[in-house]
């Protein structure tokens, strides 16, 4: 996991905490929003993540890994809140969706971030987190695998499937918008 900022000295000081919040609360919130789809839940999840850091962050010896730690914790909290019982199957890349439609970039440019989050929220849950990390933070595949605690092959297959689904939704909603300009929320 690449380092962002250094957390040295009295690692758990107020200043360190403030720096950590300053650097990561925005991206973490966006990640949470892509998972939960609602502002309230995303705020709750982000706040809870920093709460866990406030009580357990001192256990992290390598402070350069704080960013990955925060993302992993947020994702774990999200999964815990959903209490999923279904373990998603490991999908190999060559099993991923074959149909990848062409999307006119103008269609995307006409949407705002909230509308794209709403579309991302309609992508299958197991694909959503890797796709969000893929876009939001330009996170490397290795780091995504580490954050989500899944193998690299699974990360790639989920991103490929998630992107294909997102594009299909964009195409579908573009068609809807042509008929009804209010179609995209």
């Amino acid at each position: 996991m690449s380092a962002q900022g250094s957390y040295t000295g009295e690692g758990h000081s107020d200043r360190e905490f403030e720096t950590l919040v300053e650097q990561h609360y925005g991206p973490l919130y966006r990640f949470a929003l892509s998972l939960t789809r609602t502002e309230t839940d995303a705020c709750d999840l982000t706040q809870e993540t920093f709460r866990v850091w406030a009580t357990k962050g001192h256990q992290l010896e390598n402070r350069a890994r704080a960013k990955g730690w925060l993302y992993t914790t947020l994702h774990r909290l999200f999964l815990e809140s959903r209490r999923r019982h279904v373990r998603f199957p490991h999908l190999e890349l060559d099993e991923a969706a074959g149909e990848i439609p062409n999307v006119d970039p103008d269609v995307v440019n006409r949407l705002d971030g909230q509308q794209i989050v709403a579309l991302l929220g309609r992508v299958d849950a197991q694909f959503r987190a890797p796709v969000a990390l893929f876009y939001l933070e330009d996170t490397s595949y290795n780091d995504i695998a580490e954050i989500l605690e899944i193998p690299m092959g699974t990360v790639k297959s989920r991103i490929a499937r998630g992107l294909a689904q997102l594009k299909q939704l964009l195409v579908k909603d573009t068609a809807n918008v042509a008929d009804n300009p209010e179609a995209i929320p």
Binding site: E22, Y25, C43, H58, P105, V108, D138
Partner: protein, 250 residues
């Protein structure tokens, strides 16, 4: 390499990161250079990716969020023995003193009941799922016992009249919590949360306390070793309706 295979490979390629393409990606890129249709798809895909990425990254976080997180930190401070090694090293000289003090010190103050109640309400308002779905209370109790959550809860008479839908074993700051869910009969749910009362420093009194938390009305009380929170949508006579005998002191 077929065109669908090349698309699958290129889908994951992010040239804007400056990542050197691996052999497979290089082959797919070369194919996109030769094949007009694939080339158009790739150019279009790149433009689309850049637009999606930019739109998602420009989403602002709510202004109050940062302040809430920082304010939260002021409430939760790690205990001195939880500080990192620099502090531990400084404290090493006091090991003997700490040893003696540890015997004399009271246990760390437990957490506030209001925090527990608020957290449970948020759990109920969020999309959640039950660990066990059943209308058999005995099965719910067995499930809670197996998970280490409170299973010996006293059910208020008003709740016994509702239909049980199931429950979940939760944790609140390492304390096990039983969540028991009831269908009010009009597609609205009621949630009973039960936790050991020693997990909080200010467990509610035996007489039920009504408090609106977020969008739900809560009634809190203690009985025996347990602290209870009943949460549900606002309605007239909420406590009286559900906490009728055996909790007849309302």
């Amino acid at each position: 390499m077929t065109m669908p295979e090349a698309k699958q490979i290129l889908l994951l390629h992010r040239p804007w990161l400056g990542e050197a393409p691996d052999a497979e990606t290089s082959e797919a890129l070369a194919l996109a250079g030769r094949d007009q249709e694939l080339g158009r798809w790739w150019a279009n895909h790149l433009a689309c990716q850049q637009a999606l990425r930019a739109k998602l990254r420009e989403l602002p976080a709510p202004a109050r969020l940062k302040e809430s997180i920082l304010a939260d930190r002021k409430v939760i401070r790690p205990a001195f023995w939880q500080r990192p090694p620099v502090w531990l090293a400084a404290a090493a000289a006091c090991v003997l003193l700490i040893g003696i003090a540890a015997v004399m010190l009271q246990p760390r103050a437990p957490d506030r009941f209001a925090d527990f109640r608020s957290r449970m309400v948020r759990s109920a308002l969020r999309q959640y799922s039950m660990d066990i779905v059943t209308n058999d209370m005995q099965r719910v109790r067995q499930f809670m016992a197996a998970r280490g959550a409170p299973a010996d809860y006293a059910l208020p008479g008003g709740l016994e009249r509702l239909s049980l839908t199931g429950g979940a074993a939760l944790k609140w700051r390492s304390a096990p919590v039983a969540m028991v869910c009831f269908d009010r009969g009009d597609k609205e749910m009621l949630y009973l949360f039960v936790m050991d009362r020693t997990a909080v420093k200010d467990a509610p009194p035996a007489a039920p306390q009504v408090e609106k938390v977020n969008k739900l009305v809560t009634v809190s009380w203690s009985e025996g070793d347990r602290a209870y929170v009943l949460a549900g949508p606002e309605e007239a006579d909420f406590p009286r309706k559900y906490l009728s005998p055996p909790n007849s002191h309302l």
